[in-house]
C-alpha cells in the first residue's frame, strides 16, 4: 500500500468513526495539522491537550477508542476498493483540487467522492441553480435560461441532479457544453432518480458528480438536506426557482445565507 493510499484510508477512517461529524473531523485535522498526526498522537497527548473546549471530552474519548479499531480500518479499505472499482476518485482536504470555496466553512466534509473532473477551483465564478422537483413550465424555462446565460459567461453550474429544476439546469449546461457539478445525496456511483441515467453519465463525462457519501450509499431523505450545504458552499450565487414553502430548497437557501452567498429568488 502506498503512502498516498494510506493517507486516503486514514481520511476515510476519520469519516467512518461513529460520533464524529464533519465539524469535529475538521477540528481534529486543524488541531493536529495532518491526518497522520491524528492517528499517531499518543493517547495522553490528546487527552492532555486542552481540546475539550473545541471538540468536547466525550467526542475525544470516542475518537481515541475507535481510531485503532480493525473493523473501521477494514471498512475504510473496502470503501477505497469500491471507489476504485466504480471509477470514483477520493479528493481529500489537503488536495489541490479540493474546493477552495470550502475554506473557512467549518462544517464541510473533509473528503469528497468524485466521479468526473473536479475543476471548480479553476472557475472564478459559480452559480447554484436549485428549485422545485415538480416545477412549472415557466420554472423550467427560467432554469434553462439562467443556466445558458451562466455558461456563456464561463460560470460553473452547481445543482443536485434532482428531478425538475435541477435536471434542467444540468441539461442546459451539458447541452451548451458548459461545466456543471451535481452534488448527490447518495453514493456517487448511484444514479438517483433513475430516469436521469443518461444525464448522470453526461455529467460524469463533461462535468463531475460529487458526493460526501461513500460509494454504494443508497439515497435517504435525511441525506438530501445535508448535501444542500455542499451545493450552497460550492456556489457563489444561488438561484432559487419555483421553490415552495418548507421545500428542500429552503435548506439550501438557509445554508447559502449562513455562508454569505448571494441568493436570487
Amino acid at each position: 500500500m502506498t503512502d498516498e493510499e494510506n493517507k486516503i484510508i486514514k481520511y476515510i477512517m476519520l469519516t467512518q468513526i461513529k460520533g464524529l461529524g464533519p465539524i469535529t473531523q475538521n477540528a481534529l485535522l486543524d488541531l493536529f495539522g495532518s491526518v497522520e498526526e491524528c492517528f499517531e498522537a499518543g493517547c495522553e497527548d490528546i487527552m492532555r491537550a486542552d481540546i475539550s473546549n473545541i471538540i468536547g471530552r466525550k467526542r475525544t474519548i470516542s475518537f481515541v477508542e475507535q481510531r485503532d479499531e480493525v473493523s473501521i480500518r477494514n471498512r475504510s479499505e473496502q470503501v477505497l476498493k469500491d471507489a476504485e472499482s466504480s471509477g470514483i476518485r477520493i479528493v481529500v482536504r489537503e488536495d489541490a483540487d479540493f474546493p477552495k470555496r470550502f475554506k473557512n466553512l467549518t462544517d464541510m466534509p473533509i473528503l469528497l467522492y468524485v466521479k468526473g473532473n473536479l475543476k471548480i477551483n479553476g472557475y472564478r465564478e459559480s452559480a447554484g441553480i436549485v428549485g422545485s422537483r415538480r416545477c412549472s413550465q415557466e420554472g423550467k424555462i427560467r432554469a434553462i435560461d439562467i443556466a445558458l446565460e451562466a455558461v456563456k459567461n464561463d460560470i460553473a453550474i452547481i445543482s443536485g441532479m434532482a428531478k425538475g429544476i435541477d435536471s434542467y439546469a444540468h441539461t442546459a449546461a451539458i447541452k451548451s457544453e458548459g461545466y456543471t457539478i451535481a452534488v448527490l445525496g447518495n453514493g456517487a456511483d448511484i444514479c438517483y432518480p433513475k430516469e436521469h441515467d443518461k444525464l448522470y453519465s453526461a455529467i460524469a463525462e463533461q462535468g463531475c458528480i460529487v458526493s460526501e457519501y461513500p460509494p454504494g450509499t443508497q439515497p435517504r431523505q435525511y441525506y438530501f438536506p445535508k448535501r444542500n450545504r455542499i451545493i450552497a458552499a460550492l456556489s457563489d450565487s444561488l438561484y432559487v426557482i419555483d421553490a415552495g414553502r418548507n421545500s428542500g430548497t429552503e435548506s439550501t437557501v438557509e445554508y447559502a445565507r449562513r455562508y454569505g452567498k448571494l441568493v436570487l429568488m
Binding site: 434553462i144 425538475g164 435536471s167 434542467y168
Partner: protein, 530 residues
C-alpha cells in the same frame, strides 16, 4: 362385434373426425373404460353416461364396457363425446335400433337426466364433418345456429337423449321438433338471422356509433385513416378524454366482414367457449380489450392445450390495449411476431396449434406519468416523461403508424358541439378506400392493405411531386425522421389519397399525414440528454 359411431373433435381451430367404438365383454366384472387418449372431461363421461342411462329408463350393461376413441394416438378433449358414446353403448347392447347410423356424427354433452348440453367448437367440428362427407350432424339445440351456418350438411338439433333416440329410430320428424321450437325462440326474441348474404344492419352493434363522439374530429379523421389502410393506432391523451370510447367504436367503421372472415372469427370464439348459446355466425368484428395485467399466455395464446389468446380472439377485428405503458414489457414485446406474421403458433406439450391473428392494433396511453401533459396541471419533468414513454419498446412503436394525441374535452362546451361523423358514413369511405387497395394488391397474396406495403411497393405506388417532396423533407429535417418513419408516412399518405379516391399523393395528404406523428413531435420537444 363392436359398434362404431362418428363424432368430431377439435384441434386448434380445426376439427378432426373421431370414431367412437363401443364393445362389451361378457363374463368380466362390470366396469367401463374409455380409451384413446381422453382428457379428464372424457374420462368422467362414464359417470354421466351411467346416470343418463338410468334416468332415461335404459339398462346399464352388466359386463365390461370398452369405449375407444379412434384415432387412438391423438389426444382428445371436451365433453361433447358423451352423446356419441351413449348412442354407441345403447346400440351395442341392443337397447335402441337406429337407422343409417353411419350417416350421422354426434356432438353433445349429457346431463345426468338425459338432457343435451351445449358445447364448444361446434362450428369447427361441423365444418370438418362436412369435409369428411358426413351427411348429418346431431348437435345440441343451443348450438344449432352455429351448426346451421355451415351449408351442405344436415343439422339435427336435439334437446335430450330420448329425443335423439326417437329421431334415430325414425319415430319422430326432426324438422317438426325443430319447427315447434323455432316459434318458441322467436317469441323469446333471440332468433338470429343466419343468412349471411342479406347483411342488413351492416353488422355492427347499433348502440355504438361515432356520432356519440363529440369534439374529437381530428382524431376521428386519423382513426378513419387507420381503418382504411390497416394502420395501427396509438392514442395519447389525458384521463377521461374519450380514448376508450373511441376505440370501442373502431369496429363499427371497419369494412363489413366477408363470410369467410365471419367463419374464421366464429370458429375461434366457438372453440374458446365465448359464443353465446343461440348465436350463429358472428357478424360484428370482434373488439378485444384485455386489461394491462394480462399474462403473456392469455394475450398470445397458451395453456396446456394451446388455446387461442386475445390476439386470435381479435382476429379480423380490433385489439385494444388501454394504458399501453402499464403492460409488462415482455407481454408487449410478444406482440411483435403476431403483428408481423398475422398468425401465432403455440407449442405446448399437449399439442401445437396455429391460430390466425390478423388484427388492427389500437393502443391508448397517457402522455406522461401524471397524465395531463401538456396542460398546466402536469408537473412531470421531461426526464420522467421520456422515461415513461420509453416503457414501450421501440419495435412496438415501430409498428404503429399513427400516433395521435387526443384533445382535452370540456364537458360544458360539449353540449354545443355537433358530432360531425356517423359510423355508417365513415365506413362507406373506409370500404371505398379498401376496395381501391384490393384492386392495387390483387396480384400479391401477402399484402392486402397499404400498411403492409413493402419498400419496393412504396416506390411504385407512393410517387411524390416536387412540392410534396419538399414538404416532407422540411418536416423530416425538423423532427429528425428516419427513413423508416418516412416510409410509414408515405404508406399513410397513400391511404389518405385512397380515401379521397385520388390517384396520386397530394400536398393535403402530406399535411394530414404529418399530423399523425404527435408522439414523435412531442418527444422531440423534451429538454433532456438523450
Amino acid at each position: 362385434m363392436a359398434i362404431t359411431v362418428k363424432s368430431m373433435a377439435t384441434s386448434g381451430v380445426d376439427g378432426f373426425m373421431v370414431e367412437i367404438e363401443a364393445s362389451t365383454i361378457r363374463g368380466q366384472q362390470q366396469m367401463m373404460s374409455i380409451i384413446g387418449l381422453p382428457d379428464q372431461a372424457i374420462k368422467e363421461a362414464g359417470e354421466r353416461i351411467q346416470a343418463a342411462i338410468e334416468s332415461c329408463g335404459y339398462d346399464f350393461p352388466k359386463d365390461k364396457c370398452i369405449i375407444s376413441l379412434a384415432p387412438g394416438d391423438r389426444k382428445k378433449r371436451g365433453s361433447h363425446f358423451d352423446l356419441g358414446m351413449i348412442i354407441a353403448l345403447l346400440f351395442q347392447t341392443d337397447q335402441i335400433s337406429p337407422k343409417k347410423l353411419s350417416d350421422y356424427a354426434f356432438i353433445g354433452e349429457l346431463a345426468l337426466d338425459g338432457r343435451i348440453r351445449p358445447c364448444n367448437g361446434v362450428l369447427s367440428m361441423v365444418t370438418e364433418a362436412r369435409k369428411c362427407g358426413v351427411k348429418a350432424v346431431v348437435v345440441p339445440f343451443e348450438n344449432r345456429q352455429e351448426a346451421l351456418s355451415v351449408s351442405g350438411i344436415k343439422v339435427c338439433p336435439v334437446k335430450s337423449l330420448p329425443d335423439t333416440v326417437r329421431f334415430l329410430e325414425g319415430r319422430i320428424d326432426i324438422s317438426k321438433l325443430y319447427d315447434e321450437d323455432k316459434t318458441n325462440i322467436t317469441s323469446e326474441g333471440i332468433a338470429v338471422n343466419v343468412d349471411t348474404s342479406s347483411g342488413k344492419e351492416g353488422g355492427y352493434e347499433g348502440d355504438l356509433d361515432f356520432s356519440d363522439v363529440k369534439g374529437q374530429d381530428e382524431l376521428i379523421e386519423a382513426i378513419m385513416l387507420g381503418a382504411a389502410g390497416g394502420h395501427n393506432i396509438l392514442m395519447l391523451g389525458e384521463p377521461g378524454c374519450g380514448k376508450t370510447m373511441i376505440a370501442q367504436r373502431i369496429p363499427t367503421i371497419l369494412p363489413r366482414m366477408s363470410e369467410k372472415e365471419s367463419l374464421e372469427v366464429t370458429k375461434i370464439h366457438s372453440i374458446s367457449g365465448l359464443l353465446e348459446a343461440g348465436t350463429g355466425l358472428l357478424k360484428t368484428r370482434p373488439f378485444r380489450a384485455p386489461h394491462h395485467n394480462v399474462s403473456l399466455n392469455a394475450l398470445i395464446g397458451g395453456g396446456s392445450y394451446a388455446q387461442p389468446g386475445e390476439v386470435s380472439l381479435a382476429h379480423n377485428g380490433v385489439l385494444f390495449l388501454d394504458e399501453l405503458a402499464e403492460f409488462s414489457r415482455s407481454t408487449l414485446d410478444s406482440l411483435r411476431q403476431p403483428m408481423e406474421d398475422k398468425r401465432v403458433t403455440i407449442s405446448r406439450v399437449n399439442g401445437t396449434n396455429s391460430y390466425p391473428a390478423n388484427f388492427m392494433f389500437v393502443a391508448a396511453m397517457n402522455p406522461c406519468p401524471c397524465g395531463y401533459y401538456p396542460s398546466k396541471k402536469c408537473r412531470c419533468t421531461d426526464y420522467e416523461i421520456i422515461h415513461y414513454r420509453g416503457k414501450i419498446s421501440g419495435p412496438i412503436l415501430e409498428r404503429i403508424d399513427i400516433q395521435k394525441s387526443v384533445e382535452h374535452v370540456d364537458y360544458f362546451e360539449l353540449n354545443d358541439k355537433e358530432s360531425s361523423y356517423t359510423s355508417s358514413q365513415l365506413r362507406e369511405r373506409v370500404e371505398k378506400a379498401r376496395k381501391i387497395q384490393q384492386e392495387r394488391f390483387k396480384d400479391d397474396k401477402q399484402v392486402n392493405c397499404n400498411a403492409q406495403m413493402t419498400t419496393t411497393m412504396i416506390q411504385k405506388y407512393c410517387k411524390l411531386d416536387e412540392a410534396c417532396t419538399q414538404m416532407l423533407k422540411r418536416a423530416s429535417e425538423k423532427y429528425g425522421y428516419s427513413a423508416r418513419v418516412i416510409h410509414k408516412l408515405l404508406r399513410l399518405a397513400r391511404t389518405s389519397a385512397d380515401l379521397d379516391g385520388a390517384e396520386n399523393i397530394r400536398q393535403e395528404d402530406i399535411v394530414r399525414v404529418l399530423g399523425c406523428r404527435d408522439l414523435d413531435v412531442s418527444s422531440s420537444q423534451m429538454y433532456t440528454i438523450a
